[in-house]
């Protein structure tokens, strides 16, 4: 659907050049929600603008359904852009037009007959839940409502692709959730491919199927949400994952370990897939003469698959603990926590 074929974008200013996007290779499949995450300045905004040619690649090419965007004639490009909706962090609505006319605007620019515009706008406002707001102006709406108008406007021309440029970054967590739910419906009901950029890992976790991590113009890691979240490889990725998934060992536990009076047996257990649903810890304490003390951890869901991370202390006779560990290792990942290791 969208293919970045070794795309590089260089900005020249006053004799110095800056590589905003550096040799990016990326494929987004039809109907997928693909998230690109990175800190500000990583080149995400430039990357997303290369898709609808708001930015032109310096080298490499962006292919939409195998067609090189840069090869299009001006009129063809305008035609193609109508098939790519875009929403923005600051909404970018026309302040002088009401909700109805904002949504109708791209259709009216394309010269669609009034009657058709009317039925399309009515339908799409219904879809985003703003039918009762059609005569209001943007300055009378909340942030979440403005973004709904933005989404309605982007969908008006029935695009194949929706680009989301930090679409929830200006919204509070609750509103973010509702906008993300709406984006999921956009994909599910209209089968629109969504490419989004964000600096919020919870946004990626919430809606994306695939994620790519961007740093200094390059993609440093990409994969399915489950793979990247359960097993991040690059340090930046680990930092991003850590913002939403607690996997660091807290101070208080490290203090327990340095307790000299008795030796403690503290382990990190990683649950993946089905094992999350099983009462493993309960079985351990029933089957062996050990007590299990959960010190820290989190169990969450990634793309509908449960994923967990627990730090537990096993108390009891040395021999029983060894047996318990042996049992645990048959079904989950287990790693002893020491004072120096993470």
């Amino acid at each position: 659907m969208i293919h970045f074929d070794h795309v590089t974008k260089v900005y020249e200013s006053n004799g110095t050049s800056f590589k905003a996007v550096n040799d990016v290779e990326l494929k987004v499949e039809k109907g997928e929600i693909f998230g690109v995450i990175g800190f500000s300045g990583a080149g995400k905004s430039t990357l997303i603008r290369l898709v609808n040619l708001l930015e032109r690649p310096t080298s490499g090419s962006v292919l939409l359904n195998d067609r090189d965007m840069a090869s299009l004639k001006k009129s063809e490009l305008r035609e193609q852009r109508r098939k790519i909706g875009m929403i923005f962090q600051h909404f970018n609505l026309l302040e002088s037009k009401n909700v109805y006319h904002n949504v109708a605007f791209p259709l009216s620019l394309a010269g669609v007959p009034k009657k058709e515009i009317d039925s399309r706008v009515t339908e799409i406002l219904e879809f985003v839940g703003l039918s009762d707001k059609s005569t209001q102006y943007p300055d009378q709406l909340s942030g979440g409502q403005k973004q709904r108008v933005g989404i309605a406007r982007a969908l008006a021309t029935s695009p194949e692709i929706l680009l989301c440029d930090e679409a929830t970054s200006a919204l509070d967590p609750e509103t973010t959730k509702s906008i993300l739910d709406l984006l999921k419906r956009v994909r599910d009901e209209y089968n629109i491919t969504i490419l989004m950029i964000t600096h919020e890992m919870n946004v990626i976790r919430e809606v994306c199927d695939q994620v790519a991590v961007m740093e200094q113009g390059q993609l440093i890691e990409q994969g399915t949400i489950f793979d990247v979240f359960s097993n991040p490889k690059h340090q930046t990725t680990k930092n991003f994952v850590r913002t939403v998934m607690q996997d660091e060992i807290p101070e208080s536990i490290l203090r327990l370990l340095s307790d000299q009076e008795r030796s403690r047996h503290i382990y990190r257990i990683t649950f993946v897939n089905e094992t999350t649903g099983e009462p493993i810890l309960s079985r351990v304490s029933k089957g062996f003469d050990v007590e299990v003390n959960v010190l820290h951890g989190q169990i969450t869901e990634l793309q509908g698959v449960p994923f967990g991370n627990l730090i537990v202390e096993l108390q009891g006779e040395q021999s029983e603990i060894l047996k318990a560990i042996h049992y645990l290792q048959t079904s989950v990942q287990l790693k002893e926590v020491t004072a120096h290791a993470g």
């Binding site: 609808n52 708001l54 490009l77 305008r78 035609e79 193609q80 852009r81 109508r82 790519i84 875009m86 923005f88 600051h90 970018n92 609505l93 026309l94 302040e95 002088s96 037009k97 009401n98 605007f105 791209p106 620019l109 394309a110 102006y137 021309t157 680009l163």
Partner: protein, 220 residues
């Protein structure tokens, strides 16, 4: 020296008429020059919609050139051109030509600043919809800036009221001329006060109308 205000009323009435006529006609023509010129300055500027460095530099220089000439000098300097355009170099009609040349570039600058206030993100969003540059100018930039444009044209109109006071040099008449000729040069203080008061009223009315119109546009 006392003035018989009774005989003076017709004169004042005529002068008011002349001022309104000069300002009105000059404003229309100056806007006809200033609006497209302002739009051209915005679209040709670096990173503009139709970026064109050389053209921008030329237009920019022309606007600055006319804006740097004091009105009284412009008035006299272009007498031959005035005669060419309106057939005479004296009278109210003759005063309109320099007023237009004075105000047109000023309006261009005001239009430029109004249009630049429109969020670049809104323009980008419209580009992403597949709009032509033409559509962006007429369906986004101008409508979005309209409220601010009205306020700026109001400033230009009031500037014209001030400049028209000097039209007396070419026999253009008007309230300013009356104030200078009778009030200032002949020490007829009452005449001066009345004409100045009338100018104050005209400026107040223009500003109020401009403000209300602008607010109405913004409030939709």
């Amino acid at each position: 020296m006392q003035v018989d205000l009774h005989t003076f009323w017709p004169k004042i009435l005529e002068a008011t008429n002349e001022t309104l006529l000069m300002v009105g006609i000059a404003l229309v023509f100056a806007s006809l020059i200033g609006l497209p010129l302002g739009v051209a300055l915005v679209v040709t500027r670096p990173n503009g919609l139709l970026q064109n460095g050389p053209l921008f530099k030329v237009l920019n220089a022309i606007v600055n050139f006319f804006r740097s000439i004091p009105f009284i000098i412009l008035l006299v300097a272009i007498l031959p051109i005035t005669r060419l355009i309106v057939g005479t170099s004296i009278g109210t009609a003759a005063a309109v030509v320099p007023l237009v040349l004075f105000s047109g570039p000023f309006i261009a600058r005001l239009v430029e600043s109004s249009l630049l206030e429109v969020e670049p993100g809104v323009v980008e969003a419209t580009e992403a919809m597949g709009a032509t540059s033409w559509q962006i100018v007429f369906r986004v930039l101008i409508p979005e800036a309209l409220s601010s444009l009205v306020l700026n044209i109001t400033i230009a109109a009031i500037g014209l009221v001030g400049a028209s006071a000097m039209a007396g040099f070419v026999g253009g008449g008007g309230l300013g001329d009356l104030a200078i000729a009778y009030g200032y040069q002949r020490f007829e203080t009452e005449v001066m006060i009345i004409t100045v008061l009338l100018l104050v009223v005209i400026v107040q009315v223009i500003q109020t109308v401009g403000n209300q119109l602008s607010r109405k546009i913004r409030r939709h």
